[in-house]
């Protein structure tokens, strides 16, 4: 292991051999981890005949992407996913901000109990309760809508917790100063707390977007038409033919549906990782 923050002492020849081996091991692990994706890229960009033959001189092609694109209404799925994510993200920001503010800066009866009740959702994700939630959506007449997909996730315990932690670090004096200037509770929240917690919002936003971009089970259960289905469900419907599959086309479709996240990640790698880290520190 190329372990820890220890500075490397002067190395004997034997030590440097082990060190080289260690470094090699690290690179091997990295290569192993990226290999499946590289192979998927290879399959997606080469004609179907090459999916089982690795040949460096194989011609490049976009046919697989074109065929996948034409075989299912992916444009519509992209739009659906985009709408779904926007609706969820905006609602989460508003709802979690308000709740987090109450928990961070107000004393009220039953606060601990309510906070515990909120945290339960960290354990019991909405998809665990899909049978009952499905029934609720039927009662509300919301089956096969964006709202049905989004509502169970809008009050996110994770978001409330994260923002509460952030708000707690805001100095009380700033809060008081704003109030002296005559700002009401919402004014203080918007002028003081939200701007000071911007990195947390970015972090939470990225985590939430990638979570809902990838979410399959609940949307699979609750949607049944092209006009609401998000990308993940579209991909599931697309790639489950009973007879005969073309792996190169499936790979192309899989990459295509992940492309925006993938590209976003490659462009803003540092921010992504730092945001995830920030969201992970409690």
């Amino acid at each position: 292991m190329s372990v820890s923050a220890l500075p490397q002492p002067l190395q004997s020849r034997e030590q440097s051999f082990w060190h080289a081996l260690e470094v090699l091991g690290c690179y091997l692990l990295g290569a192993l981890w990226i290999l499946p994706l590289l192979y998927a890229v290879w399959m997606a960009f080469h004609p179907a005949g090459y999916e089982v033959r690795l040949d460096l001189t194989a011609p490049l092609t976009l046919t697989n992407f074109i065929q996948a694109w034409n075989a299912a209404p992916f444009a519509r799925y992209f739009l659906n996913t985009f709408v779904l994510i926007s609706v969820i993200l905006v609602s989460q920001f508003v709802i979690c901000t308000l709740a987090a503010y109450a928990f961070a800066r107000y004393d009220f009866r039953g606060k601990t109990l309510v906070f515990m009740l909120v945290l339960i959702q960290l354990m019991i994700m909405p998809e665990v309760l899909m049978v009952e939630n499905y029934r609720t959506m039927v009662k509300l007449g919301l089956v096969d809508t964006v709202w049905a997909m989004g509502l169970p996730y809008m009050a996110s315990a994770f978001g409330i917790f994260l923002l509460r932690q952030a708000f707690l670090t805001v100095p009380k004096e700033l809060d008081d100063a704003a109030r002296v200037e005559g700002a009401g509770p919402l004014g203080v929240l918007l002028k003081v707390y939200v701007p000071l917690s911007r990195p947390i919002y970015v972090a939470y936003g990225l985590v939430s977007v990638s979570y809902h971009w990838n979410n399959l089970l609940w949307p699979l259960v609750i949607t049944n038409s092209v006009s609401t289905r998000p990308l993940t469900v579209g991909l599931q419907v697309f790639s489950s033919p009973d007879q005969g599959v073309q792996w190169s086309i499936i790979s192309a479709a899989a990459l295509m549906t992940s492309a925006p996240l993938l590209i976003g990640f490659l462009l803003f790698q540092r921010q992504f990782v730092q945001s995830f880290m920030r969201a992970g520190i409690k």
Binding site: C26, P36, Y39, V131, L216, S258
Partner: protein, 291 residues
């Protein structure tokens, strides 16, 4: 500001969150318990009270028992491996090795892709004979294997995919924790001639303990929650060798339309999650803080 007005403001702020959480977490959880005592209405026939009938049925339901066993194997098999690898990856990425950014990217990339997308890709890797894995092993003279179609390897194949997908995610948490460990600790240890393994065992690892606990709980929850790859790759087969609890719930509720029994199955899952919460808050949390 009076105390009373403060109370009202606080509750108004909480209202949307409380309503939504109640509607989609707390009430459904209670309703699940309630509905688990009724059988499923079909057509014109209304639901009938069956008491604990569903729960006694479960004890003799081979699929349920298989799902429970598989879920245990799945959690015990994937969680420690994913955590160990995550720690190793974080140490690598946090070290002075060249090409850190590339390594970090390759570890983390599987995490941000949809499970359904990677499961479809891995489906091909597991294809007997000409899939990537069989061709690789074939170079060393191994016979082809029907990875997903054989009861002894199907669950394992899903677990490998899960570890590959999740280790990078947990790495992030360790990375965050490692960056908070003061470098002077390392320098001091080096001056005293402590070996790196010794330093890791006595300093780094204990300091990472709270993170490990956090990751552990999350990893276990994920092992109950994430079944996308089961849907794509094995549909729980062969002969339920790879079925997981949530997949069986999904199947019972939305393939067989037996919502009463599915409610009872959900209660089992809820009980397991509650137990997990109890372990986290009650026992482990206290121990870790004493360290």
């Amino acid at each position: 500001m009076t105390q009373g007005r403060n109370q009202i403001t606080a509750w108004l702020l909480l209202l949307p969150a409380v309503v939504l959480l109640a509607a989609f977490t707390h009430v459904p959880a209670v309703m699940t318990l309630f509905n688990s005592f009724y059988n499923t209405p079909r057509g014109v026939r209304p639901a009938k009270f069956v008491g604990i009938g569903h729960y006694t049925d479960m004890l003799s339901d081979p699929v349920f028992l298989a799902a429970l066993k598989n879920n245990a194997i799945y959690a015990i098999g994937t969680v420690p491996v994913a955590i160990g690898l995550a720690m190793l990856m974080a140490l690598i990425v946090n070290s002075s090795i060249r090409g850190k950014a590339m390594l970090r990217m390759s570890f983390f990339l599987p995490t941000i892709l949809p499970m359904i997308a990677v499961a479809n890709i891995w489906l091909f890797f597991y294809t007997p004979g000409y899939g990537l894995i069989d061709r690789f092993l074939g170079m060393f003279g191994f016979a082809e294997r029907n990875w997903l179609g054989d009861g002894s390897t199907a669950l394992g194949s899903l677990m490998v995919l899960a570890v590959w997908k999740e280790a990078g995610f947990f790495m992030i948490f360790y990375l965050a924790a490692l960056q908070q460990i003061s470098p002077s600790l390392g320098e001091a240890a080096a001056l005293e001639g402590a070996g790196r393994w010794y330093f890791f065992r006595r300093v780094t690892f204990p300091l990472l303990m709270p993170t490990t606990l956090f990751v552990l709980i999350n990893a276990i929850i994920n092992s109950f929650r994430l079944i996308d790859h089961v849907i794509v790759m094995t549909r729980g087969g062969p002969d339920n060798a790879s079925t997981l609890l949530l997949y069986y719930i999904y199947q019972t509720a939305f393939r067989f339309w037996d919502t009463g029994y599915a409610a009872a199955l959900t209660m089992v899952l809820l009980a397991l999650l509650a137990l997990l919460a109890f372990v986290q808050f009650g026992i482990l949390d206290r121990r870790v803080h004493y360290k």
